[in-house]
């Protein structure tokens, strides 16, 4: 696999940093890939626009910043406006259809508009599952990590008593796209 870049954009508290961490951990620990993840931090974490860039590759990652983004998932308008600049022409792009109403600057993307947050609240009752839902969406659309590896890893990682809901979160993610 050549260098593949993923960007997750949201507002603080939506759980994308966890999604990014899970993705790189699965890629590295389960599949022996190389990975680098750069989340935004401190003042910008709670409530403000936030992003996490993930770079995956079979080779050691040389340049540590995302510059040609292959996949962009964004759940809010402000981060969409701020962080779409380095997204490639032919990228896979997923946006929350309710929370990103203005899709200015669209390129020749494979675009998915889904009511992500709404569905998570409705079907899982808590937006903390956004992280696992986003992970499942990324897995399905990019196939960058193996599905079974993801399920295995999330089962192990899930805090006691949440395994079933996290499995439901994976299913929801896959059904949404």
């Amino acid at each position: 696999m050549e260098r593949y870049e993923i960007r997750l954009g949201a507002v603080g508290g939506q759980g994308i940093i966890t999604a990014g961490a899970l993705l790189v951990d699965i890629a590295v620990e389960k599949e022996g890939k190389h990975a680098l993840e750069s989340p935004t931090y401190t003042a910008t974490v709670r409530g403000g626009p936030t992003k996490v860039d993930i770079i995956l590759s079979d080779e050691k990652i040389v340049f540590p910043q995302a510059s040609q983004i292959d996949c962009f998932i964004c759940t809010y308008q402000k981060p969409y406006d701020l962080y779409k600049n380095r997204v490639k022409d032919d990228a896979i792009v997923v946006v929350d259809s309710n929370l990103v109403p203005d899709l200015g600057g669209t390129k020749n993307w494979k675009l998915y508009k889904i009511p992500l947050i709404h569905e998570i609240k409705k079907q899982l009752g808590n937006i903390v599952f956004t992280s696992v839902v986003t992970l499942a969406i990324t897995q399905k659309l990019t196939n960058i990590i193996d599905y079974d590896n993801m399920v295995d890893f999330v089962k192990n990682w899930a805090p006691k008593g949440t395994t079933e809901l996290n499995m439901k979160a994976i299913e929801l993610g896959r059904n949404l796209v």
Partner: protein, 375 residues
Amino acid sequence: MSKRKVFQGNIIVAKAAIAAGCDFFAGYPITPSSEVSQHLSKEFPKMGRDFIQMEDEISALGACIGASLSGKKVLTATSGPGFSLMQEHLGLAVMAEIPLVIVNVMRGGPSTGIPTKPSQADMMQTRWGTHGDHPIIVLYPAFADEIFSETVRAFNLSEKFWNPVILLLDEVIAKAHEDIEIPEKKDINIYTEKVNVIKDLNIYDRNIGENPPRVDFFKGYPIHIDGLEHDSHGWPTSDPATADKMQHLRMQKIYHFQDEIIKFNEYHMEDAEIMVFAFGVSARAALSAVREARDEGIKVGLFQPLTIWPFPKKALQERFRKVKKVLTVEMNMGQIKYEIERVSSDDVMKKTLLRANGIPFTPKEIVNSIKEFTK
């Protein structure tokens, strides 16, 4: 299953410090280095090692010096504004010849600067920050595995040469989470100076160029350590001949052993006609750029110093016998470029790529600069 795991750069520093036998940390919170102290505040007590958060960076380094003299291997971590405050005690550590390691995760400056954005603008401050002539060792890793190995090396060098060692890191690398295979204990080479029982006060007595022995408090004979210029007993003096000898003792212990201290990486330099000189995140961008330019048939290589100070003068002068073009890439308004000018003759063409706005150079920008340089 891979042996590699993902850790943040700052956490790799903390893990390497633990592996190197560091058993005392004093610090003050500052972005973007705080994870080093957070991690050690959690891990050190489990091992019975000491952690304290002080009232500022001046006191943090003061506490480190006190602990180092009490037999501990010490670490502090900071960023530009905190590093500025540390200069006073850095000078005392150099003067009294005290081993310690300072991590400086650089941010934009001057003053409070841009706390959450990278910069490479403390290059000269690490060399000349504290007042007076002084020897210093500065290491600068770029990749996750280098963060680990250079942190361990920083402790080893500080122990061996009885001198502070500064580890520079770029914000983008310190804050990024990257995969690394943490070496096993048996594969980590740790240098620890054995402190013998001290029999007299003549603790600084040695010949110029000699590697000093480490002395500590509470080792059987009550010694004196001073920030004033001192004689071989550590006692204050303003005698010109003694001062002259002590100045040379301190400077020479680093320069005499510079071949041992200086480390660098070279990439694609075998037949290079253009050399890119870059460190930290700039070196990582430059390596991508060099490979891209090579694909287009340009004979270009990268020289990445892991030791910034002492400056790799000899190695560079050897390269400049063949390579007649050097492109210096640094995230500042021009600092190391003066060192390149100093160590190269006029027949070497020099070009720079400089920027200090918090945005690292991309490989593409460096490729473009290399291409222009071929003309």
